[in-house]
C-alpha cells in the first residue's frame, strides 16, 4: 500500500509540479482579491483569514479531479480493484497522497500570503493550526467526491458542485478558529470541532468512497 502512496507522490512531482501548482493558484487567488475589493488595508486585514481559507479550499478543490481520474482513464483503477489490497486502503492512500501533495504546501505557505493581506501578527499561528487541522478533512471529503464522479468525462465542475456544500462546516469552523485567534478571542471550540470533523471523516468516508468506486467500476 505504501507503494501506491509513493507512486502517487512521484507522479505529483513528475507531472510538472503537482506540488507547486496548487500553491501558485492559492497565491494568485489571494493576490486577485485585493484587485477586486480595493487596497484598503484595514478592510483587507478584516477579511484576511476568511480569504486565505477560501483560497486554500479552492486550491484544494482544483486538484481533486486528479485523485482517481487519471487512474481510471489508463485502466489502473480496474487493475487496483483486482489487486490484493482492499479498496478502502486505496482510497485512504489516495487521500493521504492528495493531502501531502496539495494541501500541506498550502498550510506552510499560508503565513506568507497572510503578509500580503495584512493579517495581524497574532493570527499567523492560529491560521496555520486551523489549516493543519482542517485540510485533512478537505482532502478526505474531496476523495469521496472524486470517487463519485470518476468515469464522468471532465467531471471537474460537477465535482466542485458536489463537494463544496460538504466543505461548509469545515470552512466555518476553520475561519472561526483563525479569525478568533487573530482577534485574541477564545477559539478552543472551533478547533475541537475541526479536529472532530477530520477524525470522523477519516474514519467513515473511506468506506463510503470505496463502495462508490466499486459501483462506478462495474
Amino acid at each position: 500500500m505504501s507503494a501506491l502512496l509513493l507512486r502517487d507522490l512521484k507522479l505529483a512531482v513528475r507531472a510538472g509540479g503537482g506540488f507547486g501548482l496548487g500553491l501558485a493558484f492559492f497565491l494568485i487567488v489571494t493576490v486577485l482579491v485585493p484587485f477586486g475589493v480595493g487596497p484598503d488595508s484595514g478592510l483587507l486585514a478584516r477579511i484576511a483569514p476568511g480569504i486565505l481559507w477560501v483560497g486554500a479550499l479552492l486550491a484544494c478543490l482544483l486538484s481533486l479531479d486528479r485523485i482517481f481520474q487519471l487512474d481510471w482513464e489508463d485502466g489502473s483503477l480496474e487493475l487496483l480493484a483486482t489487486a490484493p489490497i482492499p479498496m478502502e486502503g486505496v482510497v485512504l492512500m489516495k487521500a493521504l497522497a492528495h493531502w501531502l501533495s496539495s494541501a500541506l504546501p498550502l498550510v506552510l505557505a499560508a503565513p506568507v500570503l497572510g503578509v500580503l493581506l495584512n493579517l495581524p501578527t497574532a493570527g499567523y499561528g492560529w491560521l496555520m493550526l486551523s489549516l493543519a487541522l482542517g485540510t485533512p478533512a478537505l482532502s478526505m471529503i474531496g476523495t469521496f467526491g472524486a470517487a463519485l464522479t470518476v468515469g464522468l468525462k471532465r467531471g471537474g465542475l460537477l465535482l466542485s458542485l458536489l463537494v463544496l456544500p460538504l466543505y461548509v462546516p469545515t470552512l466555518i469552523f476553520g475561519t472561526e478558529a483563525a479569525r478568533r485567534g487573530a482577534e485574541g478571542l477564545a477559539n478552543a471550540t472551533p478547533l475541537l470541532m475541526l479536529a472532530g470533523i477530520t477524525a470522523g471523516v477519516t474514519a467513515l468516508l473511506p468506506f463510503a468512497a470505496a463502495a462508490v468506486i466499486r459501483v462506478n467500476l462495474r
Binding site: A3, L11, L70, E73, D74, S76, A83, P84
Partner: protein
C-alpha cells in the same frame, strides 16, 4: 476455474447467458466471436469488475490478472518504474524477468509516453508477469504487435501455462497458440432484461 450457466450484462442489457466452461491449470482457452458479441463483457465479469447476471463463477480468490484494452501505464513513469509499481502492489518480485520476457530491457528507462503503440502493448503484457497470478484474462492482447512480439507473447503464455497457470484470451486474430476455442456467439442472450437491475424491475 469453472464457470457455470453464467449470465453477463452491459449497461443493463443482457449480452450473454448460459455460459459454461471449465479451465484447468495449464490450459488456455481462446474466446472468439464477432464485434459486439460480448467477449469483453465476459472477461470483465469473470475478473469481478461487474456483477454476474446469474450463474456461478468458481475461482480461487485473488487469482486473476486482467489485461484490458487499457494497459494501466503511467505516462510519466519509466518502463521499469511502471513494472516495479505493479510488482510492489502484488508483492511479487519478477520485474527483471518480465523485462527480459518482452525484450523491454533496452527501453527500461524510457517514460511510457514515449513508446510506440506496440511497445506500450508489450509493457502492458509484461505487467501480467509481475502480478504472479495464475489466471490471465486477456482482451485482444496482440493488438498493435508485430510478428516478433506476437512470438514473444506466445512464448510467455506457454511458459505461464507450463508453470501451472491458465489463460482466457479474447481475440480476433491467430495467436500461434494451441488453445481450445470457445465461441461466445453460442451464448448470445435471447432477450429479456438483465436480472436485478432497473431494466428488469420495469419490464
Amino acid at each position: 476455474m469453472r464457470v457455470e450457466d453464467l449470465g453477463c450484462q452491459r449497461g443493463g442489457v443482457p449480452v450473454l447467458e448460459g455460459v459454461s466452461f471449465t479451465l484447468a491449470a495449464g490450459e488456455a482457452l481462446a474466446l472468439r466471436g464477432p464485434n459486439g458479441s460480448g467477449k469483453t463483457t465476459l472477461l470483465r465479469t469473470i475478473a469481478g469488475l461487474q456483477p454476474p447476471a446469474g450463474g456461478r463463477i468458481e475461482l480461487a480468490e485473488d487469482s486473476v490478472a486482467y489485461g484490458a484494452h487499457a494497459d494501466g501505464l503511467k505516462a510519466t513513469l519509466t518502463v521499469a518504474e511502471n513494472l516495479a509499481f505493479w510488482a510492489a502492489i502484488h508483492a511479487c518480485d519478477k520485474v527483471s524477468e518480465a523485462l527480459e520476457a518482452f525484450e523491454l530491457r533496452p527501453l527500461a528507462t524510457r517514460p511510457a509516453q514515449k513508446l510506440s503503440a506496440g511497445q506500450k502493448r508489450r509493457l502492458g503484457l509484461a505487467r501480467l508477469l509481475v502480478t504472479g497470478r495464475p489466471l490471465w484474462l486477456l482482451d485482444e492482447p496482440t493488438v498493435s504487435l508485430d510478428a516478433d512480439s506476437v512470438g514473444l507473447f506466445g512464448r510467455a503464455v506457454r511458459a505461464h501455462l507450463s508453470a501451472g497457470g491458465a489463460a482466457l484470451i479474447a481475440t480476433h486474430t491467430d495467436l500461434g497458440l494451441e488453445a481450445r476455442v470457445l465461441d461466445v456467439t453460442a451464448f448470445a442472450a435471447t432477450g429479456g432484461p438483465a436480472p436485478g437491475g432497473f431494466a428488469e424491475a420495469f419490464a
